[in-house]
Amino acid sequence: MPLAQAICERDPSAFINLEQRMGEWTAEVAPERITQVCQWLKDAWQFERLSTVTAVDWPERDARFDVVYHLHSIARNERLRLKCRVGGEAPEIDSVTSVWRGADWYEREVFDLFGIRFRNHPDLRRIMMPEDWQGHPLRKDYPVHGGRYDYTGK
C-alpha cells in the first residue's frame, strides 16, 4: 500500500508504529502530533471523512487509554485507524475538530464517558450523561451496576 510506505518514510517522531492485521491498517501516533498527522492525512491522502473517534481503557497500562480514530477516504476507498496512548491523572489530547468539524460530538462523547480532555475543542462538555454527573461510565473502574444493590451479599 503506497500510504503505508508514505507513513513509514514520514517523520518517525509522529508515527510510532504501523501494522496490518486482518486487512486493517493501524498506525500508532504520538499524541502531541495527532492534529498535524490528521491534517496531513486529510490534505495529502484524501481522508475526507472521520468515521468515528472512540477510546479503550486498559487500566493495567501506564498510559491507560487508547484514543482511536477511524479515518475513511471515499475517493480512494481506504480506511485507516490511528491510535494514541494517553494517561495520567488528567488525560489530555489535542482536538481534531480543526481538521474535521464533525469530530465535535465524537470527542465530546469520549470526554463524557472516558474523561479524556480534548484541548482546543470548541465546546467540550458532557453529551450523554447529565451535566452534573460524577465519574466517567466507560472507564473500567466504573461499576456496571449502581452502588445501592449488592448482589454478592458480602
Binding site: 492485521r21 486482518m22 486493517e24 493501524t26 475526507e48 471523512r49 472521520l50 468515521s51 468515528t52 472512540t54 479503550v56 481503557d57 487508547d66 482511536v68 477511524h70 471515499i74 476507498n77 480506511r79 485507524r81 474535521w100 468539524r101 464533525g102 465535535d104 460530538w105 465524537y106 464517558l113 462538555r125 458532557r126 453529551i127 450523554m128 450523561m129 447529565p130 451535566e131 461510565p137 466507560l138 466504573y142 456496571v144
Partner: protein
C-alpha cells in the same frame, strides 16, 4: 440554560423579538426523545442546538459484561428499526476476529433479511415523515406493508422486532418451512405499493412546496459532520458501502445506487423511494438464487452443535457445555466492521483481550453523525422546516444515544 450559550429566559438576545424555544424532548416530530434548543427571530431559526442523551442506556458498557454471543440481543436494541442490520454488523466483526467463514446460504439469508429490514425501516421513515408534513394516509399504507415484513421476521426468528436471528458463525436456525411464500407474496405486491405512495406524494403540490429546496446542506459539510447514507446520495455522491466495501456476498447481487443532485428533502425522499425498489430487487435475487447447504460455519468451538449429535457424540456434548457455560475465546486484536444500514454507515469497533467477553464494543451509529449536521440544515430557515428536515434525516434516537 447557561450550558447552551442561550439564556433560557431569552434575555440578552440582541432584539426583544428573539426568543428561545425548547422543542422536545417530548415532541412527536422529534421521533423519540430529542431536545432542540432554538433561538427564533419571529418564525426564523437563528440558532439551533441539539441536546441528546435522553435514551442513553449504556449498551456499550453492558456489552463488556456479556460473552460474545450474548451481545447479539443487545445489538437489536441500538437501532430498533434496523435490528438485523445491527445483528449483522456485530456478527461480521466478531467473525472477522475469529477468522470464520460463513456458508453461502447463511450469507444470502442475511442479505435477504437485511434488505427487508431496509424496506421496513424506510417504510417507517416514509410514513412518519409524511405524517409530520400532514399526509395521514401514507402512514396507514406504509404500516400495512410493514406488517407483512414483521410477520416474515416473526416467522424466521419468533420476534417481530427484537429478532436476534443472526449468530456468530451463521444463523440461529435454518429458515422455517414455507418461508418462500410470504416473501414472494410480499415482493409481488410491493412495487405496486411503492407506485401508490408515489401517486400520493411525488406530484402533490403541498408535499413539493414543503420539501423542495428545504434542508439543503452542502455535500462537503455533510462529509465533515459524519453524515452518511441516503442523505449523501441525495446530494450527488454515489457512495454505498454495499458496493465500495462489499460484505456478506453483496458483490454477487445486481443493484443500483440511486442518487440525486439537489440535496434537499425532496431529493432524499426520491433516493429512499428508489431504494425501496432496489432492495426489493435484491430480495428477489436472494429468494430465487438461495443456495442450499448449512446455515452455520464449521466451527465446533464457536457454533452450538446439532441437538441430535449431542445425544450421540461426546465431543459435541462437551462443546455445547463449554460454549453455553463460558462462551468462546476470541483472539486478542481489534476490528472495525462497517455496513450500509438503512440510515448510512454503521460501524462496530471491537477490541478483544483474548477472553470470552469483548473488552470494548463501540458502535459508530449513522444517526449520530446525521443528527450532528442538523443545525446547518435549519439555521436561517423557518420553524416549520425543522420538522421537514428532521424527518428527512431519518434518525432513530436509540441509535443516537445507545
Amino acid at each position: 440554560m447557561s450550558d447552551a450559550g442561550i439564556p433560557a429566559d431569552g434575555k440578552g438576545a440582541s432584539e426583544s423579538r428573539r426568543m428561545v424555544l425548547n422543542m422536545g424532548p417530548q415532541h412527536p416530530s422529534t421521533h423519540g426523545v430529542l431536545r432542540l434548543k432554538l433561538e427564533l427571530d419571529g418564525e426564523s431559526v437563528v440558532h439551533a442546538e441539539s441536546d441528546i442523551g435522553y435514551l442513553h442506556t449504556g449498551i456499550e458498557k453492558e456489552c463488556e459484561t456479556k460473552t460474545y454471543q450474548q451481545v447479539v440481543p443487545l445489538t437489536d436494541r441500538v437501532d430498533y428499526l434496523a435490528n438485523l442490520s445491527n445483528n449483522l454488523c456485530y456478527c461480521l466483526a466478531v467473525e472477522k476476529l475469529l477468522g470464520l467463514e460463513v456458508p453461502p446460504r447463511a450469507q444470502w439469508m442475511r442479505v435477504m433479511l437485511t434488505e427487508l429490514t431496509r424496506i421496513n425501516s424506510h417504510l417507517v421513515w416514509l410514513g412518519t415523515h409524511a405524517m409530520d408534513i400532514g399526509a395521514m394516509s401514507v402512514f396507514l399504507y406504509c404500516f400495512r406493508e410493514r406488517e407483512d415484513i414483521l410477520r416474515i421476521f416473526e416467522m424466521f426468528s419468533g420476534q417481530r422486532m427484537m429478532t436476534s436471528y443472526f449468530r456468530i458463525g451463521g444463523l440461529a436456525l435454518d429458515a422455517p418451512r414455507g418461508w418462500r411464500e410470504p416473501v414472494k407474496k410480499f415482493l409481488d405486491a410491493f412495487p405496486a405499493r411503492v407506485d401508490e405512495y408515489e401517486t400520493l406524494l411525488s406530484s402533490n403540490p403541498i408535499w413539493l412546496q414543503r420539501t423542495q429546496g428545504v434542508g439543503c446542506i452542502p455535500l462537503e459539510d455533510m462529509l465533515e459532520a459524519g453524515v452518511t447514507g441516503p442523505m449523501i446520495r441525495a446530494a450527488g455522491l454515489a457512495w454505498d458501502i454495499r458496493k465500495s466495501e462489499p460484505y456478506s456476498g453483496y458483490e454477487k447481487f445486481d443493484f443500483k445506487i440511486p442518487t440525486r443532485a439537489a440535496g434537499d428533502v425532496y431529493a432524499r425522499y426520491q433516493v429512499r423511494m428508489e431504494e425501496f425498489r432496489e432492495s426489493a430487487r435484491i430480495v428477489r435475487q436472494a429468494l430465487e438464487g438461495m443456495p442450499e447447504g448449512p446455515v452455520v460455519a464449521d466451527a465446533p468451538k464457536v457454533v452450538l452443535p446439532d441437538r441430535e449429535k449431542m445425544k450421540t457424540e461426546m465431543e459435541a456434548l462437551i462443546h455445547h457445555f463449554k460454549i453455553v457455560t463460558e462462551g468462546f475465546r476470541v483472539p486478542a486484536g481489534e476490528v472495525y466492521q462497517v455496513i450500509e444500514s438503512p440510515r448510512g454507515e454503521l460501524g462496530y469497533y471491537i477490541a478483544s483481550d483474548g477472553s470470552a467477553k469483548p473488552w470494548r464494543v463501540h458502535m459508530r451509529t449513522p444517526s449520530y453523525g446525521n443528527l450532528q449536521a442538523l443545525p446547518r440544515g435549519i439555521e436561517g430557515r423557518l420553524l416549520a422546516d425543522i420538522i421537514t428536515t428532521l424527518g428527512s434525516l431519518d434518525i432513530v434516537l436509540g441509535d443516537v444515544d445507545r
